[in-house]
């Protein structure tokens, strides 16, 4: 009983430590912290919009890529190859990919994704940064893929067999059954999986920090460099000189904590509702 309460106390303590240690920044920055686009330690101006936008852009682009690929993987593992050698190989491969530490993903990104994106950028005439929001999104997509794919597989295999058999017996082809019966039935569960993956993508630090290019100005240019909430903390925390600077970085951490908690709770609710049906 005490152990259980201790976890809750720990969570509350985490929240209030973040709140208390950023209070000087909370007072100094005010509401402009959320709405302003300038991050300039020299003049003690700390506004988080560039990082919030950067986080949203990287996560959403990653999510689109990961959702398409993980739906395919989910259908493959939950529908076409449910058992047998090939299914075993695919499942092991996905689990293997889930176990790779994020710093190794970042290293892979630096050596393979950055040159690849640079080639694409040269081909379409964009400035050949190589690093940037799109590169991080691509890397993030591959990192969250194992999670969203395994949730997708689970949700797809939860679809009752008699529904699918009814469609098949009425003459629907297997792919029509998947499109019109299986996926609509599993839709909310898959959505929950996407939300849970989004929670991971938002907080991912190392891999993103290594390939995003670390530019602190507000940008909507997906091919250019940017910065996310997590990566700006990783880059600047140990060199933050003034109290307000450090406090502002902790304030970003607080914001990240709140956003990712809300998204996780939403994802959990959706997945649980699906699993309970």
């Amino acid at each position: 009983m005490l152990g259980g309460i201790a976890v809750s106390v720990l969570l509350i303590a985490i929240f209030f430590s973040l709140l208390l240690s950023s209070r000087s920044a909370l007072v100094a920055n005010g509401f402009r912290f959320l709405t302003g686009a300038t991050w300039d330690p020299v003049t003690d101006t700390f506004q988080s919009l560039p990082f919030v936008i950067g986080t949203l852009l990287t996560s959403l682009v990653a999510l689109v890529i990961a959702t398409v690929l993980s739906l395919a993987l989910g259908v493959l593992m939950g529908e076409y190859f449910r058992s047998g050698l090939f299914a075993g190989i695919m499942r092991t491969a996905v689990e293997l990919l889930a176990g790779i530490p994020s710093v190794v993903y970042g290293f892979i990104g630096l050596f393979f994704f950055v040159p690849a994106v640079r080639v694409i950028q040269t081909a379409i005439g964009a400035p050949p940064y190589g690093v940037g929001i799109f590169t991080s999104a691509l890397l993030l997509a591959f990192m969250i893929l194992p999670y969203s794919a395994s949730i997708g597989r689970e949700m797809i295999s939860l679809v009752p067999a008699d529904l699918k058999e009814a469609a098949l017996s009425l003459g629907a082809t297997p792919s029509e059954t998947i499109w019109k019966v299986t996926l609509p039935y599993a839709r909310s569960g898959i959505l929950g999986g996407v939300l849970l993956s989004l929670g991971r993508a938002l907080g991912e630090t190392m891999a993103v920090t290594m390939v995003i290019g670390n530019s602190n100005s507000l940008t909507f240019d997906i091919l250019g460099p940017g910065n996310t909430m997590a990566s700006v903390i990783a880059n600047e925390f140990s060199e933050a000189s003034s109290n307000v600077y450090l406090g502002s970085l902790i304030e970003i951490a607080l914001l990240l904590f709140v956003i990712s908690t809300l998204i996780n709770i939403a994802g959990k609710i959706v997945v649980n509702r699906m699993a309970a049906v």
Partner: protein, 291 residues
């Protein structure tokens, strides 16, 4: 029996198109799945080949050399990672297992659901935020970076994993086992300590191993807690090197020699983490609770 004069039924062209569509869809799913997995598996193989060629006995047993000198190893980082994980395990296992027992025993109560939400929330907190918390709690009061603070941040990452897997394991233990112990007059705490926990031990160990594998690869929270250290140290109140952070520092450096050290370190880290994952898998499939 033949119907005279009627041509054999022709397959409707619409049906043929639908069958073709089905075939195309199946192909699309397969191609997308391969796109999702094959490149990364190839890259993984590349790391293994490249990393295996750059490690040798010296690499594992020596300290890093200053820039410009050939050779040098990562022994400080290997020892550092082991120590950090030990600290994290010592801190997180007792609390995590106790919380897991609480959830499996009283998970349906109002307090239980509060605790479950807390654990799941803790699971979702980005690791870099937990690093900041450890910084605020330990590094700032002490005035310097330390392995202790790094271990604490890793412990906060491990805690929810251990709690949830403990709960899941203990819920699978049949009620009859507990009832038998209670019917024999064994007290409730003793039933838990002597009957329930031993029965679920393999599952709990699996959870701990999974948590260790996850925390051993974490870099973000160590950046401003354990901080890194080019020398060998076993003093947990001093800054300490770790494998992930060594990879990060060397990988982002402009020198090819250091980058090749990073490949070696990535290989060592991958071997550790993937071995833990495989061992976990074997433990679960071999000693899965059966009654």
């Amino acid at each position: 029996m033949r119907r005279s004069g009627a041509s054999p039924p022709r397959i409707d062209s619409g049906v043929a198109a639908r069958v073709r569509g089905d075939f195309a869809f199946r192909g699309l799913v397969l191609v997308l799945s391969l796109i999702a997995t094959i490149p990364l598996l190839l890259i993984l193989a590349f790391i293994i080949v490249r990393g295996a060629s750059s490690i040798n006995w010296q690499f594992i047993t020596e300290l890093p050399k200053p820039m410009g000198e050939p050779g040098g190893g990562i022994s400080n980082a290997i020892v550092g990672t082991l120590l950090l994980v030990v600290i994290a395990t010592v801190v997180s296992v007792p609390l995590g297992v106790i919380a897991g027992i609480f959830l499996s025993e009283r998970g349906k109560s109002r307090l239980g659901s509060v605790v479950r939400i807390s654990v799941e929330t803790l699971m979702g907190i980005p690791s870099i935020v937990l690093g900041i918390v450890a910084y605020v709690w330990i590094v700032r009061p002490m005035g310097h970076f330390s392995a202790l603070s790094g271990g604490l941040s890793l412990a906060m990452i491990m805690l929810p994993v251990i709690t949830l897997s403990t709960e899941e394991t203990l819920l699978m233990i049949p009620v009859t086992l507990r009832e038998a112990a209670l019917a024999l007059g064994v007290s409730y705490p003793r039933t838990i300590m002597r009957v329930i926990l031993p029965a679920g031990m393999s599952g709990i160990i699996t959870g701990v191993l999974l948590a260790v594998a996850r925390s051993a690869g974490e870099t973000a929270p160590l950046l401003f807690t354990a901080f890194g250290n080019p020398f060998m140290t076993v003093n947990i109140f001093k800054p300490m090197a770790s494998l992930p952070q060594t990879i990060f520092n060397y990988a982002t450096s402009p020198y090819p020699e250091w980058q090749s050290l990073a490949w070696g370190a990535a290989f060592v880290l991958l071997v550790i983490v993937l071995t833990l994952n495989v061992v976990t898998k074997l433990v679960t499939s071999r000693w899965k609770i059966q009654f």
